[in-house]
């Protein structure tokens, strides 16, 4: 079974540009999450989709970040315009829609560098 995949693996852009990150969850997983790790800090939650609906977007830093999950399959995270402090590793995770516990499976991450 294929795991969570993310594209690109690495992106280098200049301040003010736009970048779109993509995540393909494990097939059949209705829950999809975005997290971010800024250098030297812990991994932090950004938002949670259940199918195509945003369940919790309390971790989104500001309105320069836009996440979508059309059709409840893959998701994109757009940063527009990018700022220096947006640099970090962006992880996507997915889990099946089950009652009780929620084991999240992470992708390899997209390393974003804003110059």
């Amino acid at each position: 079974e294929a795991g969570v995949t993310q594209f690109p693996s690495h992106s280098v852009i200049e301040k003010g540009q736009t970048v779109t990150l993509r995540c393909d969850p494990i097939s059949g997983h209705d829950n999809l999450y975005w997290y971010r790790r800024v250098m030297g800090k812990e991994i932090k939650f950004l938002l949670h989709f259940v199918k195509e609906s945003k369940q919790d977007e309390s971790g989104m830093p500001n309105n320069r970040f836009l996440a979508e999950r059309t059709g409840g399959t893959y998701s994109t995270l757009k940063v527009q315009p990018a700022e220096l402090e947006d640099s970090g590793v962006y992880f996507c995770a997915s889990s099946p829609l089950l009652a009780g516990g929620d084991e999240q499976f992470f992708g390899p991450g997209t390393r974003l560098t804003v110059l």
């Binding site: 812990e42 991994i43 939650f45 949670h48 919790d56 084991e103 991450g109």
Partner: protein
């Protein structure tokens, strides 16, 4: 104060040693506790997933949760050089699926 605290290390041990990795947390509402292993330039890989207090064993790995002291532990027996990685603890509250992570502990197992 961070909700989940973890010593960043690095922690170096000889091959075959028993490794003890620990986290403390402050939110008494946390009910689920996870340990992830992350190799350099890779994503976190789920190692252990436990609910509430108690022990859980899987091969060489044992996870322990003590809710009374808000303490989470991961023990690795017969450590191997391939165990060298960053170990992340995480917790969350039932009803939210927002994982709260520690900063991770870098472990190096020397051959």
């Amino acid at each position: 104060q961070k909700e989940v605290e973890q010593d960043p290390g690095p922690l170096s041990v000889p091959e075959g040693a028993i490794v003890s990795l620990n986290c403390t947390y402050s939110n008494s509402a946390f009910q689920y506790f996870m340990w992830y292993r992350q190799y350099s330039r890779k994503g976190p890989e789920l190692l252990m997933y436990t609910y509430s207090s108690g022990n859980k064993e899987d091969g060489r790995f044992t996870a322990q949760v003590d809710k009374s002291s808000k303490y989470i532990s991961l023990f690795i027996r017969d450590s191997q050089p391939s165990d060298s990685a960053t170990y992340l603890c995480a917790s969350y509250t039932s009803g939210t699926y927002k994982y709260i992570f520690g900063t991770g502990t870098r472990l190096k197992v020397l051959a």
